[in-house]
Amino acid sequence: MPTETIASVVANGVVAAPAPLSTVADTAGLHAEHPDRALLLSGDESGERVAIHCEATSFDAATADLRGVAALRIRGSRVLTSQRLILSFWPTEPAEPALSRLLAFIGNRPLVGYYLDFTVGLLDRLVQPMVGMALPNQRIEVSSLYYGRKAKAPGKYAVDLRLDSILRALDLPPRAGDDAYASALASAMVYLRLEPPQP
């Protein structure tokens, strides 16, 4: 299907989102057999988390085009950089195979990220029409973890929530670039520093 571009998929998603409940249920029925759906809804057993970050054409989740996704599993204190998943999306290519790989990689694991609402919002526009529901994964926003820590200490200044500032404040190495992978890795490190796994 050469005509099915990301744009068309996005259009479907936009239509489906505001639909009444019954329609959603119908759509759900339609997609009930989709294998990724069962994966997303299964109980979380791995204890792992996935740090994720998107690259897109703009910062408006409702209109931006997805260009790339980087995802990293976090197991215990470790960021499994050796098993990273980096995907590129092109308007001329179908997004489904790549998305399937991403969903298999994420599974039911909680998602960790910086400005995660944007990343997940962007993904949901593609995932919703494909499997019939938005990503149900628990979300962990590292900037709000950081804010929660900073807000405990009284100060008269606003908390600087830029990712690079957070890295600096936590004494973590700066990002090696501004691609999705560097940001996902940075989010993973911030997460582990602020929420170390309990023994």
Partner: protein, 610 residues
């Protein structure tokens, strides 16, 4: 971010660009916060940790044995063998690059230079560890003072005395030499006091027998006056050097300028031969139980020497435990037929099992037999074993927890039955049996038998809160005089404190209960304390204080034992506070206060107040 891996550091600088790429692709990243445990005790490592940023402490027991900073890597040893008794803790917020074991092996295999460096580092680490122990002991022995050796009291004769008089004086005093005082005693006065010379038994022989001098010639002109003298506070080691240099066998020892006595070479060697390796060698070579008995007596001398030179009690305990176990193993091997050795496991329990025995206390030992195995001469072997140990100076256990008691020499299945009863029908004796059995360590025979019995014990204890409450309770059984009663304590100053009941037992048993609850495999109290800290059951600072207090109390107990007995058996646990120095007394009080605090922690943890 993976490009941040620093390849300028050995051994990674040996990798080719292609190999570097593969290494980078395989790397994971470890993120650790301050005080986070990176590798806990006994945890096998699946990767090599290379510190990218931060600081990591390598801990062994309570001590930091190594610090790893940026570019340092650990722990090669854990990669190739598990059960390392050390843990790695982040001292600061730390990032580590993790090199998985498979890629490390693959690269070492492909790249000979890289592999050689890795291997070299591994070998260095191992030999450094092996040296550490013997160095500490050798250092202690080279620090020994002449004061610690036996000095022969000086025997003086006047210069005018005859050779026969000198020989008579030697015989009368059982001495091998006499000191000859020159000068005329009638003139008196210190300045007229002449030189002092020495005349040895060898000199007598040479002069009379070989040279044929008459036995009534005066000793004055015949004695040698170039005395080799050292002060009593000089190092024993210097005495050894001086003797070797001048090839003499005795030295004159002075104290504040006055002659205090003579140091004979044999006595010097006696002190130095208390070296644990010498004893260990003799144990290994012992052909009869009597040989073992003599080696066993020397352990007391070793303890005295090491303690006298200020070696830490925990280190002495390690050494003595090893030697005692060697003796037990050797004795059992001498007595038991080979098939019994193959089908049984000799275990030591209680303090011996925990490795905290310093002086000889009651023997607590047992024998686990393989199910279905029958040894016709079993009772002779076990009786002889117990009898010989009593001869060696290990007093029999008043509770009869000894191999000669059939209750403690049983097949595995019966041990399991007993464990079941101890757990499910706890009474006082059952509690005690369970406690000392949990501390058991295998000494000879098939250690798998003990491992299975312990596995059964731990498997039976799943979340049995009632059991642990009952098990922990004895830790509070004895009063610890401290805190509110401190004033009272001062007034009762002249009363002795039973250091075992008031201090050591609550720590040992409380820690044991906590360890049992966590199903820990450790048997040593200090190791348990640190393992509990690693698991977050105890605060690290509390653990440190507790371990220190335990060491201090053990030291005091050793002192009381050494002073209280000549034979080296531990009978006296009483510490009289008025005999302690001010510093010791203050620390003693602090320790007791800490024990009191620990008891409160136990009471809270195990709900002992309900």
């Amino acid at each position: 971010m993976s490009d941040a891996f620093d390849f300028s550091v050995s051994p990674f600088d040996r990798l080719t660009p292609e190999q570097r790429q593969r290494l980078v692709a395989a790397l994971d990243l470890g993120v650790y916060v301050r005080d986070g445990v990176i590798l806990s005790r006994d945890e096998p490592a699946d990767c090599l940790f290379v510190v990218r940023q931060g600081l990591v402490h390598e801990r062994r027991g309570g001590e930091v044995v190594a610090v790893h900073g940026a570019h340092d890597s650990f722990d090669l040893q854990a990669l190739f063998s598990d059960g390392q008794a050390r843990s790695f803790v982040a001292a600061e917020d730390t990032l580590c690059d993790l090199v998985p074991r498979p890629i490390l092996l693959e690269l070492a295999h492909e790249n000979a230079a890289f592999g050689a460096l890795i291997q070299q580092e591994f070998a260095d680490r191992l030999s450094a560890l092996a040296n550490e122990r013997s160095n500490r002991e050798t250092a202690a022995l080279t620090m020994a003072r002449i004061r610690q050796a036996y000095l022969h009291p000086p025997v003086f004769v006047e210069a005018g005395a005859s050779l026969r008089d000198a020989a008579a004086a030697m015989k009368r005093n059982q001495a091998s030499s006499v000191l000859v005082r020159e000068g005329d005693p009638k003139n008196g006065g210190p300045e007229s006091r002449g030189r002092i010379g020495i005349l040895t038994g060898t000199d007598l022989r040479d002069l009379v027998v070989l040279e044929g001098r008459p036995v009534d010639s005066p000793v004055g002109p015949l004695a040698r006056y170039e005395l080799l003298a050292l002060d009593r506070d000089d190092l024993l080691f210097n005495a050894l050097i001086l003797m070797t240099k001048h090839s003499v066998r005795r030295l004159v020892i002075t104290e504040q300028g006055e002659i205090a006595g003579l140091l004979e070479q044999t006595d010097l060697l006696a002190v130095l031969s208390n070296h644990s390796q010498v004893i260990a060698l003799r144990v290994d070579r012992a052909a009869t139980p009597e040989d073992l008995g003599r080696a066993s007596q020397d352990i007391v001398g070793l303890i005295r020497t090491l303690h006298g030179t200020g070696v830490k009690v925990s280190f002495i305990a390690d050494l003595v435990t090893e030697l005692n176990r060697k003796i037990f193993r050797r004795l059992f091997e001498l007595l038991a037929p080979p098939d019994l050795l193959a089908n049984a496991c000799l275990i030591v329990m209680g303090s011996e099992g925990r490795g905290e025995q310093l002086l000889k206390t009651d023997q607590d030992n047992g024998l686990i037999l393989r199910d279905g195995y029958d040894c016709p001469t079993l009772s002779q072997v076990t009786d002889a074993f117990t009898r010989h140990l009593v001869e060696f100076g290990y007093p029999p256990c008043p509770g009869r927890i000894m191999v000669s008691n059939p209750d403690w020499t049983r097949p595995l299945a019966q041990y399991k039955d007993s464990l079941f009863h101890w757990i499910h029908r706890p009474d006082e004796a059952a509690q005690m049996n369970l406690a000392i059995f949990y501390d058991a360590a295998a000494v000879a025979g098939d250690a798998a038998l003990l491992a299975e019995a312990k596995g059964y014990l731990l498997g039976r204890l799943q979340d049995n809160q009632m059991f642990f409450t009952a098990f922990a309770r004895p830790a509070l059984a004895f009063d610890t005089p401290s805190g509110l009663f401190g004033g009272l304590f001062e007034r009762r100053r002249n009363e002795a404190v039973d250091i075992k009941k008031a201090g050591i037992f609550p720590i040992v048993h409380g820690v044991r209960a906590l360890a049992l609850e966590k199903h820990m495999a450790e048997t040593n109290t200090t190791e348990r304390i640190w393992a509990l800290a690693d698991q977050g059951v105890l605060d690290r600072s509390v653990a440190g204080e507790l371990a220190d207090a335990f060491t201090f109390l053990s030291t005091l107990r050793l002192k009381a034992g050494l002073d209280g007995s000549v034979s080296g058996t531990q009978t006296d646990n009483l510490v009289r506070t008025e005999t302690l120095g001010k510093l010791d007394r203050d620390q003693f009080k602090d320790c007791l206060a800490l024990v009191k605090k620990f008891k409160e922690l136990l009471a809270y943890h195990f709900h002992l107040n309900h």
